[in-house]
């Protein structure tokens, strides 16, 4: 060290021989100097999820932001995230300190791998589980799919639900398939050991036409509204099973259909549910006099 200046050792340490960690102060070193502190709440669903705090320093200061994401009185240093996805973060410029909260968007996929979770019925002909089909051969085909252990709490409004039907076989006809989708309006629909097509249907439905994906791909159907109607049922609870009924349109062209025969472990029809949960957190910030830029 230089032979001028001031240094003060911590109790128990000889100032002449103390190492830097053993000093409480040395004029050789800078210090972190607090300029301002404050607190507030940030909510991803309000005001763009952004808290803006003017610091008045006209340069970019060093800062620390502590956040309490559970609003339990326990604070960590930002950023805060879940599964390495940042939900609360902080940055500063020469005017402001910013604290931003973003909603927690989680997509969960459920797979249909059981014969008794699939049903197809050919008008006037075969019906049974072990496979799913929708569309028309020479006759209309109706079907149903069921998914188990759905981890959505009662009353939750999900952002999105997409049912991806694996196309094991595609009909050779031309034109778009016409169809309707409904949810099975039950708290915890049973498996398809018997015909499910007569079960109560949700009011919410989708109807329309779709250009079909080729064999080996997935044909996607939006079932968000149907799913939300089921999750809103008073006796729905997380972990229950959910089901969907597909009806072919009367005007569906012949030989326009898709079929999933439930073979293979990587080609199961799937239900992808996206939930969006607002991030709300208390924060406490510290702005230092120390200049970044």
């Amino acid at each position: 060290m230089t032979d001028y200046g001031i240094k003060i050792s911590r109790p128990g340490y000889d100032v002449k021989t103390a190492t830097p960690p053993q000093l409480s102060f040395s004029s050789k070193y800078g210090t972190l100097k607090i300029q301002a502190r404050g607190n507030g709440t940030v909510n991803s669903a309000s005001g763009g999820g952004l808290a803006t705090i003017a610091h008045g320093l006209e340069y970019v200061p060093a800062f620390l932001v502590h956040v309490d994401p559970g609003q339990t009185g326990s604070y960590c240093i930002a950023p805060y995230g879940v599964n390495s996805t940042p939900l609360i973060y902080a940055y500063a410029d020469s005017t402001n300190l910013y604290i931003k909260a973003v909603a927690n968007v989680v997509e969960t996929t459920y797979y249909n791998a059981s014969d008794t979770n699939m049903w197809r019925a050919y008008d006037g002909g075969f019906s049974g589980n072990g496979g799913f089909a929708i569309g028309k051969t020479d006759v209309k085909i109706n079907g149903a799919l069921r998914f188990e252990n759905i981890a959505v709490a009662q009353g939750t409004t999900i952002t999105d639900a997409v049912l991806g039907v694996y196309v094991g076989e595609k009909g050779a006809g031309t034109g778009d398939m016409t169809y309707f989708t409904f949810g099975i309006d039950e708290d915890n629909t049973a498996n398809f050991s018997s015909d499910p097509l007569g079960r109560n249907k949700t009011t919410a439905n989708h109807g329309g036409s779709a250009a079909l994906t080729g064999a080996g791909g997935f044909q996607n159907f939006n079932v968000t509204n149907e799913s939300n109607e089921i999750f809103a049922r008073g006796s729905w609870s997380s972990g229950n099973a959910i089901g969907y009924i597909f009806n072919a349109g009367d005007d569906c062209p012949a030989q326009v259909y898709i079929y999933d025969d439930n073979t293979g472990t990587t080609t199961n029809s799937k239900l992808s549910i996206t939930t969006t949960t607002a991030t709300v957190a208390n924060y406490k910030y510290t702005v230092f006099l120390n200049q970044i830029e």
Binding site: G30, C76, A78
Partner: protein
């Protein structure tokens, strides 16, 4: 400034003209005076360090996630991961680290926010005490003091900047010249935007999706920048004389 008191400038600055940001000590400033510091070992769950301050104090925690490797990476604990996280409340500092990870913590007297905090009476009747503005040195409690020679304070050994092009990933290597893994704070900026982020953040404003993680070894501060596309990343670092491990 008043014509009494004490001030000490940072190296390279004239004490007579230095702004407050370039002073290491001045009557009235709020420094981070250490209430307690120590080391712990991760358990795979929460390691609890009681502080009994009755308010949420400022803190810094560094965690060495390369267990058993003396000069392994030591990063600042933020809220980003299940392990490598530290939370403070009005009674405890809870640190979440993998089993065997080395932990260094500093708990400061200064609370996270101003407001009423209990009186904490210093115990020393010797040494140097400098109070904040408006407080009698004979009666000031620890939170009313700028400096107390009985207490450690976080000391900035060196600070600086660096900048470089990052195509997908780049390590900034800063030689610190200290005898052990030092504590540090680091901030980064993308494409000279004027917006500075702290470590473990992802810059979501530039469109380049830049994330900076960092750690110290016994020779370097390492800052790893990862981006989706080519950009300029600037860093500002403070390396402390106080160890992270």
């Amino acid at each position: 400034m008043a014509n009494y008191g004490i001030k000490v400038s940072d190296v390279g600055y004239d004490v007579l003209t230095a702004e407050d940001k370039n002073l290491s000590l001045k009557t009235g400033l709020s420094l981070l005076n250490v209430f307690s510091q120590g080391t712990e070992t991760g358990t795979g769950g929460a390691v609890t360090v009681g502080h009994s301050l009755g308010y949420e104090p400022q803190f810094l925690v560094w965690i060495d996630e390369n267990s058993g490797i003396k000069d392994g990476g030591t990063g600042l604990a933020t809220g980003m991961d299940t392990f490598g996280t530290a939370f403070v409340d009005d009674a405890d500092l809870n640190i979440y680290a993998a089993n065997g990870d080395n932990i260094q913590y500093y708990i400061f007297y200064e609370p996270l926010t101003t407001g009423t905090a209990p009186t904490i009476t210093p115990t020393n009747d010797y040494g140097i005490i400098i109070t904040k503005d408006g407080y009698d040195v004979a009666s000031a409690n620890i939170l009313q003091q700028t400096f107390n020679s009985e207490k450690n304070s976080i000391k900035i050994a060196l600070s600086g900047t660096d900048s470089d092009t990052v195509n997908t990933t780049k390590n900034f290597l800063i030689v610190h010249g200290l005898s052990s893994n030092p504590g540090y704070l680091i901030y980064f900026e993308v494409d000279n935007s004027g917006k500075w982020w702290s470590e473990n953040e992802t810059d979501t404003l530039s469109g380049k999706n830049v994330t900076l993680s960092s750690w110290t070894t016994n020779t370097h501060l390492v800052a790893n920048a990862v981006s989706d596309s080519s950009c300029t990343v600037g860093i500002k670092y403070y390396i402390f004389a106080d160890p992270a491990i």
